[in-house]
């Protein structure tokens, strides 16, 4: 309470005088991005729940669909799980791709973003860093869901090693797909709006797909929709990979949508980001 004021005045003066001089060369874009990625990982460390949030729904669906509908849909719960799990992996990672946008919007609504923007460093650093951290997030949430599936009895025909190419493909898909949500995040005011709008996109995309059931019994018009749904294309490619029979054409088709999305929403995101706020 009665701490003398003077020392703090001296400390402030000393802090400035002892500060290293302004760097002749500001840090490189790569090191800036890595630093921001490190920051995003620290946030996961402090709030691991943000990682669990995105895997809870897929896990719930896996358990519910397998035990409730599995027998009826595929003859046995075991057979259904073999069908369902690759699709659930895709669903998990697609859901997770919202998080770059969500965290970006959260950041911008806080004062810390002003500080970042007032630094003499490569300005898209925070976005690049968030995407790097997403690779960790996608991989971690994919692995969590895969482990739960394995515990329930899922066995990939292609062996456990097939998980690696599957995760790579899903990462590539999600990194492209995520640009929709970064653009969205920079266009709306609050993080919760990002979430609400994202669900409006994600729900039809994941349900009107081949994740849960074989589209063969759907009406023709719906089959047409499902067959061009980018999520279905990715699920097909992932099923092939997990079955030990990767198909180059399916992988190419799966990557088509994320490439298109990145080509449109990537520049849009950067434009929105650079636009004065």
């Amino acid at each position: 309470m009665t701490r003398p004021a003077k020392p703090l005045e001296q400390a402030a003066q000393d802090a400035v005088l002892s500060a290293p001089a302004i760097a002749p060369q500001p840090p490189h874009a790569v090191s800036v991005s890595l630093t921001y990625a490190w920051r995003a990982l620290l946030k996961i460390k402090h709030m691991p729940e943000q990682l669990f949030d995105v895997v809870v729904t897929p896990i719930m669906f896996t358990v519910m669909f397998t035990y409730l509908f599995g027998g009826a849909l595929a003859g046995s719960t075991g057979a259904y799980l073999q069908f369902l799990l690759p699709g659930i992996l895709v669903q998990t990672i697609v859901f997770t791709s919202v998080y770059t946008g969500f965290t970006l919007n959260t950041d911008i609504s806080k004062g810390v973003f002003d500080r970042f923007r007032s630094l003499p460093v490569w300005s898209p650093g925070p976005i690049a860093g968030a995407m790097l951290a997403d690779i960790f997030r996608f991989t971690a949430s994919g692995i969590i869901v895969f482990i739960i599936g394995t515990a329930m009895g899922y066995r990939p025909e292609g062996g456990f090693i097939a998980v690696i190419p599957a995760l790579l493909l899903m990462n590539a898909f999600a990194l492209g797909f995520g640009w929709i949500f970064t653009a969205l995040a920079l266009s709306v005011r609050t993080p919760s709006t990002v979430m609400t709008l994202a669900w409006l996109v994600l729900m039809p995309l994941t349900f009107a797909s081949n994740i849960y059931v074989d589209p063969a019994t759907m009406p023709g018009w719906l089959q047409a929709v499902v067959s061009v749904n980018p999520v279905s294309l990715l699920v097909s490619a992932i099923r092939d990979i997990m079955a030990g029979a990767p198909d180059v054409r399916a992988v190419g088709l799966a990557l088509l949508a994320p490439c298109l999305i990145a080509a449109i929403f990537g520049p849009l995101t950067m434009w929105l980001y650079r636009r004065e706020r």
């Binding site: 309470m1 004021a5 003077k6 703090l8 005045e9 001296q10 400390a11 402030a12 003066q13 000393d14 802090a15 400035v16 005088l17 002892s18 500060a19 290293p20 001089a21 302004i22 760097a23 060369q25 500001p26 840090p27 090191s31 800036v32 630093t35 490190w38 920051r39 620290l42 946030k43 402090h46 709030m47 806080k110 004062g111 810390v112 002003d114 500080r115 970042f116 923007r117 007032s118 630094l119 003499p120 460093v121 650093g125 004065e276 706020r277």
Partner: protein
């Protein structure tokens, strides 16, 4: 190094129809503490955000440390630090992680970055809280962290946007001490405040801003002089002669005579100290006995009232000026 720290000419910023900053001409000398004083929504934050290259002006121009804020934004950013109005630290990270992050973004590497983060925490008495998330910090601790985050490199110019809004008096005094220390080290400081006392305490020069314009500018003493000589307050020995005293004062002085105290007090604005003295003499000559009198300088509150015709906002209202 003879260029001023800040030079602006007709600097303006509009948001839709609203002129947040409406033609501001400023020149801030190097090494001084300059205060931008104004109520909520006066345009202070918008002004700072433009000068810190976060917002593009819609009119006019500005040079910060000799660099144009639009064409040479990067040069400006290399030399300034900004402590924003809302705590500009990452609340999810610990104090140490915050400083380490900014050290790395400032180009410090490895052990150098860690040392800098640790030494700043120690200097500002935050070492014990180094491992706590910033959201668990008190307002005062957060402000100290925030300011230390601006000192990783030596800034030539530091922007402090409402550095003490919402702080308790003790924390406010600590921030003031820090600001004085920074100024002693030669750093130019531009601070915004809605606390009149703060500008008076810290700043060499003050610009009073209202509705996006500078309505007065000068040292604290100059601003006070603009408004008049001050206030003469007297206490009468007896309430019975108050009427007589009041009419005598209103004859001699131009200001309106106000009754205060418990029936024995009177106060009146005076244009200069001599006029006040003459009025006291007249009271004495009329045989009206006083138990006390004072001739005070007007407070900055009174300055503001005189300049704008309305009182400043209550001091405990946090600034809600639009950031967008």
């Amino acid at each position: 190094m003879t260029t001023p720290a800040i030079e602006t000419s007709g600097l303006s910023r509009r948001f839709g129809d609203k002129r947040a900053v409406d033609g501001i001409d400023l020149d801030v000398r190097r090494g001084e503490i300059f205060a931008v004083l104004g109520p909520n929504g006066a345009g202070k934050t918008t002004l700072v955000r433009m000068l810190a290259t976060l917002l593009r002006p819609s009119g006019g121009s500005a040079r910060v440390l000799g660099h144009d804020i639009e064409r040479e934004a990067r040069e400006v950013r290399r030399k300034i630090s900004l402590t924003g109005q809302f705590a500009s630290v990452d609340e999810d990270l610990t104090g140490y992680e915050n400083l380490l992050l900014l050290s790395r973004l400032s180009g410090l590497k490895g052990a150098e970055a860690k040392d800098r983060a640790a030494s700043l925490l120690t200097a500002f008495d935050l070492a014990e809280a180094a491992g706590k998330q910033a959201k668990d910090y008190s307002g005062g601790m957060r402000r100290k962290l925030d300011i230390s985050a601006s000192l990783i490199r030596r800034p030539e110019l530091l922007f402090l946007d409402e550095p003490t809004t919402g702080l308790d008096p003790r924390s406010r005094n600590q921030v003031w001490d820090m600001v004085r220390g920074l100024a002693a080290s030669g750093t130019t400081i531009l601070l915004t405040t809605q606390y009149l006392e703060e500008a008076d305490q810290l700043a060499g020069e003050i610009a009073v801003v209202d509705h996006g314009r500078i309505i007065a500018r000068g040292t604290s003493a100059e601003l006070k002089a603009k408004v008049g000589g001050g206030v003469l307050q007297i206490s009468l020995a007896s309430a019975q002669r108050r009427e007589e005293a009041a009419s005598l004062l209103s004859d001699m002085l131009v200001g309106e005579v106000r009754a205060d105290g418990h029936g024995t007090g009177l106060s009146v604005d005076v244009s200069d100290p001599d006029a006040g003295l003459a009025a006291l003499g007249a009271l004495s000559a009329a045989g009206i006995t006083l138990t006390g009198y004072s001739l005070s300088q007007p407070s900055l509150d009174e300055v503001f009232f005189a300049l704008t015709g309305r009182p400043p906002e209550p001091e405990d209202t946090p600034e809600t000026e639009a950031v967008q």
